[in-house]
């Protein structure tokens, strides 16, 4: 589920927690998580690294590694409270860092590589690495995870939430959604049947999959297509959930050429199998003009539900209409987007 305020108003986690809780029968307590944007206005120019540590002592090792690569502006434990149903497997920590001037090339790529290096430390896991945003996740139902991380203390202009029912890998903190890289985060309802193809394609561009779960590839695919290959959100959606050839053939010539070329070039980036996803990105990506955006997208034959609504400057996207109605009883507009057609909500104000 995702909620965004298009004029950039910061709002509490209350709505998203209420909405996602309605869908508790879609998850089984083995993974819940949230992403929030507009979270750290004071530190909005720094990369906020949310890192899960298997034990407190690992913090020094991570810090050593970070010190060698980036300037650490501030670091602190992410506050939690004990929750009986959540195993205290990890200590969450946040670092605000920036990339030293001596580093050549894209600082975003530099941070990705750094995150992948941190992940190589046994027991350390970077769960988000964007600016002015962060991911909070753990084993448990989403509302329990919100309680664990004291999300009532945070405000954001965009919230994503997810409750997991693990089917292909075990339930663990790192396996919960959202999956995030730089400013991207993603929650996924479904199972990707093209995972092996997508994963091996991403490896060609330097992405390493570390979370043992299919949904992870989606975050990297968005990063590759939009940030690095500079496709628009709409074009990237056409890569992930492309129209069928039969439909392409009926398109006007120029459009047909473009879509054909996209399908041919990015064939291994096509995501197959059922998915309903909500993706969010911030405005902190370098190299492209990117706004804070929330996107809803389903697979090309819509094997998973996805419902959208607008009300009073807010956009809601969820697997069920009930989740939206739980927090916004009478939306101005409710619709089910067509298969493979992205719903794009932009946050207009720079925040």
């Amino acid at each position: 589920m995702g909620i965004t305020s298009e004029n950039g108003t910061l709002f509490s986690a209350k709505q998203i927690v209420t909405g996602i809780k309605i869908m508790n029968d879609r998850c089984n307590g083995l993974g819940g998580g949230f992403a929030a944007y507009g979270l750290y206005p004071e530190y909005k120019d720094y990369y906020a690294l949310h890192i899960l540590l298997k034990k407190f002592e690992l913090k020094d090792e991570v810090e050593e590694l970070l010190k060698d690569s980036v300037n650490i502006y501030k670091d602190e434990e992410i506050e939690t409270r004990p929750v009986a149903t959540i195993p205290p497997d990890y200590v969450p920590w946040r670092f605000f860092v920036d990339v030293p001037e001596r580093v050549e090339g894209s600082s975003d790529d530099y941070i990705i590589n750094l995150a992948m290096d941190v992940n190589k430390i046994d027991g350390a896991l970077v769960v988000s690495s964007g600016k002015n945003m962060g991911v909070f996740k753990a084993t448990g139902y989403p509302h329990e995870v919100a309680h664990l991380y004291k999300l009532e203390n945070y405000k954001a202009h965009t919230w994503l939430a997810h409750g997991r029912y693990p089917t292909n890998t075990r339930g663990w903190w790192g396996g919960a959604h959202p999956f995030s890289i730089l400013d991207w985060s993603i929650v996924h309802n479904g199972e990707i049947t093209s995972y092996g193809t997508n994963k091996r394609f991403l490896e060609l561009y330097g992405y390493q999959c570390n979370f043992f779960t299919d949904s992870e590839v989606l975050a990297y695919l968005w990063d590759l297509l939009v940030r690095r290959h500079k496709l628009s959100v709409e074009r990237a959606s056409e890569v992930l959930a492309p129209p069928f050839w039969e439909k392409i053939e009926k398109m006007p010539l120029n459009e047909r050429e473009i879509i054909e070329a996209l399908r041919i070039t990015y064939a291994p980036a096509m995501v197959n199998g059922p998915f309903g996803i909500v993706v969010a990105t911030g405005s902190g990506l370098t190299g492209i003009a990117c706004e804070n955006t929330m996107i809803g997208l389903s697979d090309r034959i819509k094997l998973r539900p996805l419902v959208c609504a607008n009300n009073d400057g807010y956009t809601y996207i969820a697997s069920e209409e009930s989740a939206i109605r739980a927090v916004c009883q009478h939306p101005e507009k409710v619709w089910a987007p067509a298969a493979g057609k992205p719903t794009v909500a932009k946050v207009n104000a720079y925040v």
Binding site: S194, G196, T197, L204, E257, Y266, M270, V271, N272, I301
Partner: protein, 502 residues
């Protein structure tokens, strides 16, 4: 000196009660294994190759073939086959010729690989209800696609390399006119046109009768350079340089002068009755840089409009070679495994040289990925693709498409009697004898090959649908959807596949 002479492999049994003495069997036996003696059909079993022609032509079903029971003492090392070969060679002093593919190694790695299907957590897709796409593009793909302009005026900035569009990822392999009959060639050509795929011309040029189908034909440029001229390159869908083939890596070809008829002479551009010899190497390719020159010459000659393929046999160092071939500019690499078929090859080479396509394919795909050049070429796997299951497994291992040879000939009626090299094919396939050729009905043959391609394509859709995939590109290189069983750890590692149960 009297030596043991092996008993014939087959015994022709004629049911005298059923036989109505029509002699149709005698007319049909191109190996002279049947004759009319003393007012009845007499068999000469030592000449019988087991091609089944007489069996299927007998109107009374009076003929059956049985394998002669072994009368030799058994020995695990000195098998009957080995002893037969030694007797033959001690008699002739010659290389033993053979046809079709490797007979020595029975275990097929594809059979130790299993495909996946959806259960509960994601839905299988019913190909009868939902579209499932098989369309495949062969050729170089850009690493990044750039667009320019805004909104309505957005255009492609990246120019795509020449590519081949296939409606199904199954192509027909390179088999020459000369090795097979013109009728067989035309039947294959009609079938690929019907199914939106391609066939290879083989190295014997392209008969004028096939020009109408040429936009579905990949013409071959092999070491003999037979039949290569500007129009040949112009009319084709693509050009393929043959470096080697899986049935005889490192070995050239030899079409005896007796087979060089008027028509073959014209197509191959050599005099009637002269031997057509394809040298083992291309005499202008003694290393990789020479290959690059030929690739570029052919691109130049086709004005950079057609993909150039390079076919190599799966030899030990196939991964490194493929990397070189990719960097030489090949738009597609055809890798021919050690089981691949042929019209004629020294048996010892056929059975002992080269490696299985499954390992070759997996290691080439991985190597090109490791070097970041996988998008620079397409990989086509060939050599013993027997079913749509093999097609799916090859694609999951990393192939863009596959080529079939023997399977297509079986669809034309080949019974795998393994006597292609004799030129006496009783089914009109691997022969130039006008009378034998007339046995192959081009239209019916085309329909059968087309049916096979169609049947396999439907099965591929079933396989994809069961795996919850609605487009072939999501199976390509998707080794997660394969599991191995009965394979050792090293094999699994090379294949990049987990063991069943993990």
């Amino acid at each position: 000196m009297h030596m043991y002479s092996a008993v014939p492999e087959f015994r022709v049994n004629i049911d005298r009660d059923r036989c109505r003495l029509c002699q149709r069997c005698i007319e049909n036996c191109s190996f002279d294994a049947l004759d009319w003696r003393d007012d009845k059909v007499k068999s000469f079993d030592d000449r019988c190759v087991g091609c089944q022609r007489c069996v299927s032509m007998c109107p009374k079903d009076a003929i059956t073939l049985t394998r002669t029971p072994s009368v030799m003492s058994r020995h695990p090392t000195w098998t009957e086959d080995i002893r037969r070969d030694i007797y033959a060679q001690s008699r002739t002093g010659a290389v033993i010729l053979a046809s079709t593919g490797n007979e020595l190694h029975e275990r097929v790695v594809f059979d130790n690989l299993l495909l996946d299907a959806c259960q509960v957590t994601n839905p299988a897709i019913d190909p009868l209800r939902e579209p499932i796409e098989l369309r495949t593009y062969i050729g170089k793909k850009p690493r990044i696609l750039e667009l320019e302009g805004e909104g309505e005026n957005v255009k492609l900035k990246t120019k795509l390399a020449p590519k081949l569009k296939l409606d199904t990822p199954i192509m027909i392999a390179q088999m020459s006119y000369g090795a097979i009959s013109l009728e067989a060639h035309e039947a294959l050509a009609r079938a690929v046109v019907m199914r939106g795929t391609t066939m290879g011309s083989g190295e014997g040029g392209l008969h004028k009768r096939l020009y109408p189908y040429a936009d579905h034909i990949i013409v071959q440029v092999a070491s003999g350079r037979f039949g290569v001229h500007p129009e040949y390159l112009d009319v084709a869908a693509g050009v393929e340089i043959k470096i080697g083939q899986g049935a005889k890596p490192g070995i050239g070809g030899h079409l005896p002068g007796a087979k060089i008829t008027e028509e073959i002479s014209e197509t191959r551009m050599i005099p009637v009755g002269t031997d057509a010899i394809s040298p083992a190497p291309h005499h202008d390719i003694y290393s990789i840089e020479d290959l690059a020159q030929l690739v570029n010459s052919l691109k130049e000659a086709t004005r950079y409009k057609k993909p150039v393929f390079v076919k190599i046999a799966a030899v030990h160092n196939v991964a490194a070679i493929s990397s070189g071939v990719t960097r030489a500019g090949a738009d597609a690499i055809v890798i021919d495994g050690f089981r691949a078929g042929t019209g004629a090859t020294p048996k010892i080479i056929r059975d002992n040289v080269g490696i299985p396509i499954e390992f070759a394919l997996a290691s080439v795909d991985q190597r090109l990925r490791d070097e970041g050049i996988r998008n620079e070429t397409s990989i086509i796997a060939s050599g013993s693709i027997r079913s749509s299951g093999d097609v799916a497994k090859a694609i999951a291992l990393g192939a863009d498409a596959v080529k079939i040879g023997t399977a297509a000939l079986i669809a034309l009626g080949c019974t795998v009697c393994k006597r292609c090299y004799t030129g006496k094919c009783a089914w009109g396939i691997a022969t130039q004898d006008p009378q034998l050729r007339s046995r192959l009905d081009v239209e019916e043959g085309a329909r059968r090959v087309s049916n096979l391609l169609s049947a396999w394509s439907i099965e591929l859709k079933e396989i994809l649908g069961a795996a919850g995939i609605n487009s072939i590109e999501s199976l390509r290189g998707n080794r997660d959807r394969l599991r191995g069983f009965g394979l050792d750890h090293t094999s699994l590692e090379i294949l990049g596949v987990e063991a069943a149960g993990t």
